[in-house]
Every structure is written in structure tokens, then in C-alpha cells.
């Protein structure tokens, strides 16, 4: 029921609270991560489990029976932090099912959307969720007093990334312009020029953010991490043989845990870490990233902000130099109707598989998110942290465990979906 008699705050004496909130699920959640998870630590046994308590939305079921054109509209709502990644993965899956090859312009515009997505998500995580741990604050906005210059730069980056999403995707959260085969609406030359100006103006903020995060002291931890990312149609590991994306289902197993509504993923039965640190492990290590310490994922994100900022500028310059044609590509005759769509989302490799009937209605959907793959690694690293901090006070160890979970930037919402 929606109340019709709205009582203003000052006269509102009703519900003089008699009780305090007692719901047991209320206090245990890890703050400053996306979604609802908690760490259950057994100090005596020196063991730790990551409980996931998010409700199941059953997206793979919601999609079945709906038209293909709604897939990217619905799946972007899996996650408000990385909606563009889900949007593009679904489009990619449906286009593969229909044998559609998108135009060069559409491809560039989508790559640009992805740059915006990476920066949006990394900025949100670094400044509002992770950084407070490092400088003794609670809420990210308190930075405005302690580090006013840095906070201003955070806002500049957020604004710049949101602007990419607005101009190309139609909105900062949940795209409106994308469709099967291309774009409903593409930005004008003038829009792109203005966007380029905004990106150029953010350069100082990008650099200083990178400097700041390069100078932070990351907690010590040594974990035997296997890092995995998607490259050129392959799932690539820093320790083992790579496999083609088409074989994702045979290689990424999802296990049930009785303490979690999210499945726990493994790659060929091993724990893997995906995301910014994993992606950078395949590139030149200019910033002394420690690839056996997951806390360095924070620095990796700051580096990626700079990389995707540069990439976005290049894409816009390319778009401005050509005659962009916004045409929506059509399906081929007799398509396979089965498609896999993948993308490197901010938190790592994202897989959407969609099957259609001949009327282009969805008959099957499978989604594996980056956080599903990371959950298993988070537990492994948390266990390593417990073992390597035995001489610390438990309070400090608890804080470090929360920081570690945050460093992975888990998206619990995505992991349950």
C-alpha cells in the first residue's frame, strides 16, 4: 500500500520507535562492497568463509521467453556498477547467434562505451569503497575535508566517465542507445568533439590519481595467484595453457556452497583471479605491481583508469577522422541461433550465452560473471592472510580481511544475478 496521507517530517510523531532493529542479517555485511556478503571467521580454527546472502533474481530464467531485443536491456540491470559490460556481452551473444557483423563505427562506439565503463567502475571503487581504508576515513565523501584536491580529481574522473556513458550509451547507468546490430542513435561529430575536450581536461586528474595510488602502502600478502583474462577469443592464464572462449563452459566450473546464494567458480578446477590485476599481468610491468598480492588490484585499477582514458581519446580521434556511418547490421540467413558473448568487464571476464528460437525469442541463457570466478580466489587469499598474520591482533586481522575482500572489488550483485 502507498500511503495517501503524507505526514511532514516535523509533525510526524507516528511510529515513535519502540524497538531497535534486530534483524540478524543487518550488521554482519561487509560495508563498501557491491552487494551483500559477510566473512565468517573462526579464529580458533584459523579458517574463513565468504558467505553470500544476496537474494536470487534468477536472470537466466527471466530471459527465457522474452524477445532477443530485450536481452541487453534486461541484463544491464544485473549490475548498476557495470551495466554497460552486461549490455555489450548480451548484444555480442545475440549478434553471434544471428550471425551479425557490426560496422566499424559501431565497434568503435562500443569500445568507447567500455572505456567509460572501466573508468566509472574503477573510480567508484577506488575512491568511494577502497580508499577510505588506506587513509583512515569511513565514507568516501569525507575525503573532501582530508584530501580536498584529490577528492576534486575523483569527481572530475567520475564526471568524465559518466559523460562518456551519457554521450555514447545515452545514460550513465543502464544504456538506452544500443540495439542488436549497432546503435539506435549515434553521437554527432559535435558531441564527440565536446567529449574529447572533456577527456583532455581530465588528464591531470588521471595522472595525479595514478601517482597517488602508486604511492600508497599496500598491506603485505603472498598468495600463489593464477591470473586469467580474455584475449583475442581465448581465455588466457599466466600459469597454464589458454583455451578458446567457445569452451568456456567446460573450463569454468561453478560449485554450490551451502553458505552462498552465488556459485563459486573455478578454472579447470583451480582458483583464479580475474580483473584489473590479471589483465595487467600480461603487459609490461611499469608500476611494480606485485602479481602475488591481491591488494595490488587497487593500484592496477588506477593504472587502468589511465590506460582506458588514453584509449578513449584515441577512439574519439579515430571516429572524428573518419566518416562515421551509423547503420544497423542485419542478421544472416539461417543463423546458428546460438551465441556466446564475452567482454572484459571492470572485474574480469564476463560470459553471456544466449540461444534463440526462429522467432528470435530467447530459449536458453547462461551467464558467468567475473565475481563468480573471483569468489573462490577471495577465500583462498583470505585464508592465506589469516595464516600470514598470526602475530597480529584479531581486530587488525579482521580489518585486513575486509580490506582484502574490498581489494578484489567483488560485485556480489553480479555474482548472484
Amino acid at each position: 500500500m502507498i500511503t495517501n496521507n503524507f505526514t511532514p517530517l516535523e509533525n510526524n510523531g507516528k511510529n515513535k520507535p519502540q524497538t531497535k532493529i534486530t534483524a540478524p542479517s543487518l550488521t554482519g555485511f561487509i560495508a563498501k562492497i557491491e552487494g551483500h556478503g559477510s566473512l565468517k571467521i573462526d579464529w580458533d580454527k584459523n579458517s574463513v568463509k565468504l558467505h553470500v546472502d544476496e537474494g536470487e533474481r534468477l536472470f537466466e530464467g527471466i530471459l527465457v521467453g522474452r524477445p532477443a531485443e530485450e536481452a541487453h536491456w534486461i541484463t544491464s540491470r544485473i549490475c548498476g556498477v557495470c551495466p554497460i559490460a552486461h549490455n555489450l556481452a548480451s548484444l555480442n551473444a545475440v549478434e553471434n547467434a544471428l550471425g551479425i557483423k557490426i560496422s566499424e563505427t559501431s565497434k568503435l562506439l562500443r569500445d568507447l562505451m567500455q572505456c567509460g565503463q572501466m573508468i566509472q567502475s574503477h573510480v567508484l571503487h577506488l575512491f568511494f569503497l577502497a580508499l577510505p581504508d588506506y587513509i583512515g576515513l569511513d565514507r568516501g565523501t569525507e575525503l573532501v575535508k582530508k584530501e580536498p584536491k584529490l577528492f576534486k580529481q575523483a569527481l572530475t574522473l567520475k564526471e568524465m566517465a559518466d559523460e562518456i556513458a551519457y554521450v555514447i550509451a545515452g545514460r550513465n547507468v543502464h544504456p538506452t542507445t544500443t540495439t542488436i546490430g549497432g546503435f539506435h542513435k549515434a553521437p554527432s561529430k559535435k558531441d564527440l568533439e565536446k567529449l574529447l575536450e572533456k577527456l583532455n581536461m581530465a588528464e591531470e586528474a588521471v595522472e595525479q590519481t595514478l601517482n597517488f595510488f602508486s604511492g600508497l602502502q599496500y598491506p603485505e600478502l603472498k598468495v600463489d595467484l593464477e591470473l586469467v583474462s580474455l584475449q583475442d577469443g581465448k581465455i588466457v592464464s599466466n600459469k597454464n595453457k589458454s583455451v578458446p572462449i567457445e569452451e568456456y563452459k567446460q573450463n569454468i566450473e561453478e560449485e554450490l556452497r551451502d553458505y552462498s546464494t552465488a556459485k563459486f567458480g573455478k578454472f579447470q578446477n583451480r582458483e583464479i583471479m580475474v580483473g584489473a590485476l590479471a589483465r595487467l599481468s600480461f603487459k609490461e610491468n611499469k608500476y611494480n605491481l606485485d602479481f602475488s598480492n591481491p591488494f595490488y588490484n587497487n593500484l592496477a585499477q588506477a593504472i587502468e583508469i589511465s590506460e582506458f582514458h588514453k584509449k578513449a581519446i584515441k577512439i574519439i580521434e579515430k571516429l572524428l577522422s573518419m566518416e562515421p556511418k551509423n547503420d544497423i547490421a542485419a542478421p544472416v540467413e539461417n543463423p546458428s541461433l546460438k551465441g556466446i558473448g564475452t567482454i572484459e568487464a571492470p572485474r574480469g571476464g564476463l560470459y553471456h550465452e544466449i540461444h534463440l528460437d526462429d522467432k528470435q525469442n530467447i530459449i536458453y541463457a547462461n551467464i558467468i560473471t567475473p565475481t563468480v570466478q573471483n569468489l573462490t580466489s577471495i577465500e583462498k587469499s583470505a585464508q592465506a592472510l589469516l595464516e600470514q598474520t598470526k602475530n597480529f591482533e584479531n581486530k587488525r586481522r579482521g580489518e585486513l580481511l575486509n580490506m582484502l575482500v574490498r581489494a578484489y572489488d567483488p560485485c556480489i550483485t553480479c555474482s548472484v544475478h
Binding site: 509533525n11 534483524a23 540491470r77 545514460r171 547507468v173 551451502d258
Partner: protein, 236 residues
């Protein structure tokens, strides 16, 4: 005078409406000066167990724990506001019919799994809601408008015009005139017609407007399928 105590909670959802709160940027800082945010899991560790002057809730209550918490929050809050389509209308999660959940749990998780969720419904299915800030996701200006009204002891109002009005302001070509489906005429405005401006249909995430002429729209096309997106579990 003591600052009003605000609590921000999220149930099961995508958290995109909270991302919109952070996207307020400088305006969020101004707002923070007028209030005390005593609980916001996504934004801070600090937590006070109530009572709250204003509780803003995002997401649908799906699990029994969420329903219990929602009822306690209602008891402990002077004003309770639903933030976004999931809290206000049930949103995308409500597209899953309750009777189908068992089948999908088995298909997605296998029969070994012990499900937590019961049914995704809007907040108003369990408690009284004082105001809904509509949208999937919410619009930043609508959020500010509603909160500022509440802080100055005014009743925030629902928009008494349809998305068509927003569309005119945005200079959009009417979708219906081009034989494209759209729920704009029966949907409450305030969204700046952002989806139609991007080339997508209006799926009605701002809720059905008062005195909507649904039968007239039915003469043009059958809106039933489009309405499923956000209105499966709301009464029309």
C-alpha cells in the same frame, strides 16, 4: 537544531540507483550538510540501529530476512521512501513469477540447492510506503527534488503528466506515430524521456500515471508484453 537522521538500505537489486546517488557528486555533498547519514552499507561502515527520520530503500525484498528487516525499518522510520523501480514496483526481479521460481532454482542451481528467495515484490506488498522515487534507474533531479521536499516538510508530488510531455521537451519524434511500441502515454513523466531519446521504447519504469488512458493505448497496440518489464506485480 538536530540534523535529520537518514538511513539508506538496499535489498536485492543492481544497486544502480545508489550509483545514481553517488553520481550526484557535488550535490551529494551539499545534501550531506543538511542531514546525518547514519547508515549506508554501500558507502560507510558507520551504522546506527535507528530510529531514523527518513529511510530510503532500494531493491526488492526477496528473502525472509529482507522482509523482516523491511518491517523493522518501517517501525523505526518516520518516513519511508522507495528508491527506484525494484523497491517501488518490483522492477526487473519481479518479472520472475513466484510459481516458476522452484523450476528455475533447479535449472540454474540444481536440486541440491536450498533457495533463500521466496518472491520478488515491491516494498508496498509488505509495508506502507510514503513515497516512491521512480525510475530504473532513478533520475538525479527527481531524487534531489523528493529529498529536498521531505527535508523542508513538504509532501513530494508525483508528476501529473505523462512521458509524452517529456518527449515533446526533448524534441523526440513520437514512436507511436512510427508504429513503434511505447508506454510513454500511460507512464508518469519526470524521466526527461531519456530512453526514448536514446531510441528505446518507454517500458514504464516511472509507474503508471494517475488517470492513465490504457484503453486508448490498447487501440494502437497491445501493451501487455511491454508492461511485463516493470509491472508484473503491481496493480494497474
Amino acid at each position: 537544531m538536530e540534523k535529520p537522521k537518514i538511513a539508506i538500505y538496499d535489498f536485492t537489486d543492481c544497486e544502480g540507483c545508489e550509483v545514481k546517488l553517488i553520481s550526484l557528486r557535488e550535490k551529494l555533498l551539499l545534501l550531506e550538510k543538511k542531514v546525518e547519514i547514519v547508515n549506508w552499507r554501500l558507502g560507510q561502515e558507520k551504522f546506527e540501529p535507528g530510529p531514523y527520520d527518513l529511510t530510503i530503500i532500494e531493491g526488492t525484498p526477496i528473502t525472509p530476512e529482507e522482509v523482516k528487516l523491511l518491517k523493522e525499518l518501517r517501525e523505526n522510520s518516520k518516513i519511508l521512501v522507495a528508491l527506484g523501480a525494484c523497491a517501488g514496483l518490483g522492477g526487473i526481479p519481479a518479472m520472475m513469477p513466484e510459481k516458476d521460481r522452484k523450476m528455475w532454482y533447479e535449472k540454474i542451481y540444481t536440486s541440491q540447492y536450498h533457495p533463500r528467495g521466496i518472491d520478488a515484490v515491491p516494498l508496498s506488498a509488505h509495508v506502507s510506503v510514503d513515497f516512491i522515487i521512480h525510475g530504473c534507474p532513478v533520475d538525479e533531479d527527481e531524487v534531489l527534488n523528493a529529498i529536498e521536499c521531505i527535508l523542508s516538510n513538504k509532501k513530494p508530488n508525483y508528476r501529473d503528466y505523462s512521458v509524452c510531455y517529456d518527449c515533446k521537451l526533448a524534441n523526440n519524434v513520437c514512436r507511436l506515430l512510427n508504429d513503434k511500441q511505447c508506454l510513454g502515454p500511460i507512464t508518469q513523466g519526470g524521466c526527461k524521456a531519456i530512453c526514448v531519446s536514446g531510441g528505446s521504447p518507454c517500458y514504464g519504469c516511472f509507474g503508471i500515471r494517475e488517470e492513465a488512458n490504457i484503453s486508448a493505448l490498447k487501440k494502437i497496440f497491445d501493451p501487455v508484453e511491454l508492461l511485463k518489464m516493470f509491472h508484473t506485480k503491481t496493480k494497474l
